[in-house]
């Protein structure tokens, strides 16, 4: 288990402001996760904000133990744009997921937030690999992730399971930042 870094997560980078989720974010999370335009490939969420608050309370215990980090990405004025999460840590890798952004986010915000979250996993938490799963029909996200040249480590009827090394992430991040910044 890694030491909790909760108090250090207040990241201003690439024109985004990233912090850890709070109970007050429940309504925003539910609004995005129940948006039919955005949630096609997510695990189902009901529209009960109170249940989301309860989920965040339980998550905060995992966060305090350094087992999981759920990020809210905002613009520099504090307007919430989206979210993503690092979880299911093992000795050398973390899983990244729950990646969801408002459709009217500024161009590139979702990608910048993905880079920031994975930088946190690789650089702050010092993991050497990142795991993620992508639905086979989610072609746009699949194209984005595969451009990092990850390895497919498993496959089900519905999903690919990938492993991405820190080196490959760093190499490709440079290219992406050339486009984004």
């Amino acid at each position: 288990m890694r030491t909790s870094l909760t108090k250090f997560v207040d990241i201003k980078r690439y024109g985004l402001w990233v912090r850890l989720v709070e109970e007050s974010d429940a309504e925003f999370i539910v609004s995005l996760r129940t948006n039919s335009e955005l949630n096609k490939y997510l695990s189902p969420t009901n529209n009960n904000v109170a249940q989301q608050v309860e989920w965040i309370r339980k998550y905060k215990l995992r966060e305090a133990m350094g087992r999981e980090y759920y990020f809210i990405a905002m613009d520099m004025e504090g307007k919430k744009l989206g979210m993503n999460r690092l979880y299911d840590f093992d000795s050398s890798s973390f899983e990244v997921g729950s990646w969801l952004f408002s459709a009217n986010s500024p161009e590139g915000a979702s990608i910048k937030a993905d880079l920031i979250a994975r930088e946190f996993g690789f650089e702050t938490l010092q993991f050497s690999n990142c795991r993620f799963s992508v639905h086979k029909e989610n072609k746009k996200v699949l194209a984005y992730h595969t451009s990092f040249k990850p390895v497919i480590v498993n496959e089900t009827d519905e999903e690919y399971h990938f492993l991405l090394s820190k080196d490959k992430f760093n190499n490709y991040r440079t290219k992406l930042l050339n486009f984004l910044l």
């Binding site: 161009e107 979702s110 746009k140 194209a143 486009f179 984004l180």
Partner: protein
């Protein structure tokens, strides 16, 4: 640099747009599936196929497919 080829490659970056629906005068940012990930796919395609970099800032200043084609052509000429 072939314009028709460029439009074909550009259109292939969209998840749900059939080629006949993309013309040189298409305002590509108004297409329903245009978003950050599609923009990134287009930028990668341009870099791989035409060896020039189109930043987000440059994309913001282009409206029609033909504007993007002209931008790429101009960048190539400067190389």
């Amino acid at each position: 640099m072939d314009k028709e080829q460029f439009i074909k490659k550009f259109a292939s970056q969209f998840e749900d747009v059939e080629l006949p629906n993309v013309y040189e005068t298409t305002d590509f940012k108004s297409l329903s599936t245009w978003d950050s990930l599609t923009a990134m796919s287009v930028q990668l395609m341009i870099e791989e196929e035409y060896q020039v970099t189109v930043t987000n800032e440059s994309l913001k200043n282009t409206i029609r497919v033909i504007d993007l084609f002209e931008l790429v052509k101009a960048k190539q000429a400067l190389k």
